[in-house]
Amino acid sequence: MDVRVSNIRKEFDRYPALNDVSLDIRSGELIALLGPSGSGKTTLLRLIAGLEQPTLGKIFFGNEDASHRTVQERHVGFVFQHYALFRHMTVADNIAFGLTVRPRGERPPKTEIRRRVSDLLDMVQLSGLEKRYPNQLSGGQRQRVALARAMAIEPKVLLLDEPFGALDAKVRKELRRWLREFHDRTGHTTVFVTHDQEEALELADRVVVMSQGQIEQVGSSDDVYDRPNSPFVFSFIGDSASLPVTVADNAVRFQDEPIGIAPKANDIQSGSGTLFFRPQDVTLVTDPATPALEGRVATSRRLAGTRIADLDISRQGESHHVEIEIPLDAQAATGTIIRFKPTRWKLFAE
């Protein structure tokens, strides 16, 4: 089922939590909503579910306008951050809940419910635990019960709010892989919210990067990592360094000195902007005549197969630091002068 979010605005006490957000989610897609806290990602998820009502805009499920459908009518599977299991019900009763609250005419017979519960427990690999209470389960098990409970109503869309947020690192890795397999097997349209970029990049078909109530970029992991379209996305995803620069005479300049790179055709040709590059996308410059960025090693540290140097590139009093990767055999003692230039970079106009 396609889900289309169209020009949504959501205000809480007149403060806009989402501002003119539009998003097309394709059927069967696994999508991550990624952003820092307060970016509006959970609000967007809750709007899709019908747990909140938009101030303006519409939400379509397929071709049908779902904006005025209640949460009960929307038929979405929602997995809450803290699972929200019913703690006075057994695992089996939790999973069966969505079926047993149906109107009498649509409710499957008891034996059918029992069979479906047992199938779902098989699917989430928790067979044998149907008589347990949530209190008697581990965090990872509760997670999977919550997922089975959401799946029991055969939802058109599966929505997960920080699905791994409350788990420890090891379980989180396992469940992440398991969720991907689960999605590939069942083929549900799935949207999950996360603030963990590693999780989003590894798991999702497409990542929606959000900031301050707006969508910054939508794209594959490669898109948002290699071709970030805004300063926010560049700095939010992966490590990056940024410098205030000016462009003049077909050269990018840092504090008026050319740094050895020229603006690309679609970059600004004059004026000021911000230059972004990733620590690994640099090359050291040994020839003192070649224009380059120059800095003094403030600290350096070994990180697995590389070394990261924190360079003080301040000139004319203004303090600027960048972190770059340097070869393990390069001189990196504190105070060493290093010259380098970015090999892959992006220039954003002011």
């Binding site: 019913f86 703690r87 609250v101």
Partner: protein, 287 residues
């Protein structure tokens, strides 16, 4: 060496601590507790033990005693039921709804804790007597709400309300909104959510509140005697019968009735503790 150290740990009455004053405070507490509570209560037990079985039985099978116990337990039970219904509603309104004066309503719930029982008693009697403000209205519908068991129930509803509200309220405040939202996403309507998800979660607290209100109602005296009419065999409560027997210097009968009531309230106390232990074990939270 190590075994003797382990043994000495096992036999130590208290865990070691650098904080002073254990002997002084515990000693004083125990002495005071013994003097004020334990010796007097032991006196009651000793006195009732000195009654012969036949005497004891004769007092308890006395029709007036049986009726008084029936009235006390019966009215306390009904009042506790009323309080469960309205106590849960009052707690829900206080916890969930925003309205001006919410704090005041919350404070008012404690009135029966703070208002002396005799004051409550004469006020309720004045209100619900056939010529009182409320009594007049009820009279029109042919309802007599004072000087009969109904009056006792009214007084016990007054006394018991805060027990239910204050037991249920903190658990209600802890309800996770996500749980309600989860029920809604699974298709439950509001009534199903309340009835199947929220109320079962509150039931240990509701049961505890019921037991507390019931236990308090059984022993209540001051607020009841003014409105009850105190007609023997009809609206005479057990505590009043104890007082009457005392005034007759029939200490044996007073002791026997007191012993029965006391054992019942300890049984209630035990039940409350069992409910809470069971709830903690199964759901991971008390009541």
């Amino acid at each position: 060496m190590t075994t003797s150290a382990a043994a000495s740990v096992r036999w130590r009455v208290r865990q070691p601590s650098v904080i002073p004053g254990f002997g002084l405070t515990l000693g004083f507490s125990l002495a005071y507790l013994t003097l004020i509570i334990l010796i007097p209560l032991a006196g009651l037990v000793w006195r009732s033990a000195s009654l012969s079985g036949a005497e004891f039985l004769a007092i308890l099978t006395d029709e007036r005693t049986i009726n008084a116990l029936e009235v006390s337990f019966g009215t306390a039970f009904i009042a506790a039921l009323v309080n469960v219904v309205f106590g849960v509603i009052v707690a829900w309104v206080i916890v969930r709804y925003e309205f001006p004066g919410r704090r005041i309503v919350d404070a008012v719930v404690d009135l029966p804790f703070a208002l002396p029982t005799a004051v409550a008693g004469i006020a309720l009697a004045a209100l619900y007597a056939p010529n009182g403000w409320v009594g007049q209205v009820l009279n029109v519908f042919g309802i007599k709400a004072a000087f009969n068991p109904t009056g006792i129930v009214i007084a016990l509803v007054f006394i018991g309300l805060p027990f239910v509200v204050r037991t249920v309220q903190p658990i209600m405040e802890e309800i996770d909104r996500e749980v309600e939202e989860a029920a809604a996403t699974l298709g439950a309507n509001r009534f199903q959510t309340v009835y199947r998800v929220l109320l079962p979660g509150l039931s240990p607290a509701i049961l505890t509140g019921f037991a507390l209100a019931f236990a308090r109602g059984v022993g209540e005296y001051g607020s009841v005697i003014f409105i009850a009419g105190n007609i023997p065999y009809v609206s005479e409560i057990a505590p009043l019968l104890i007082v009457i027997r005392l005034e007759e210097f029939n200490y044996g009968a007073a002791t026997a009735i007191a012993t029965i009531m006391l054992s019942m309230s300890f049984a209630m106390l035990l039940v409350i503790n069992l409910i809470q232990a069971w709830s903690r074990r199964r759901y991971g939270h008390g009541a």
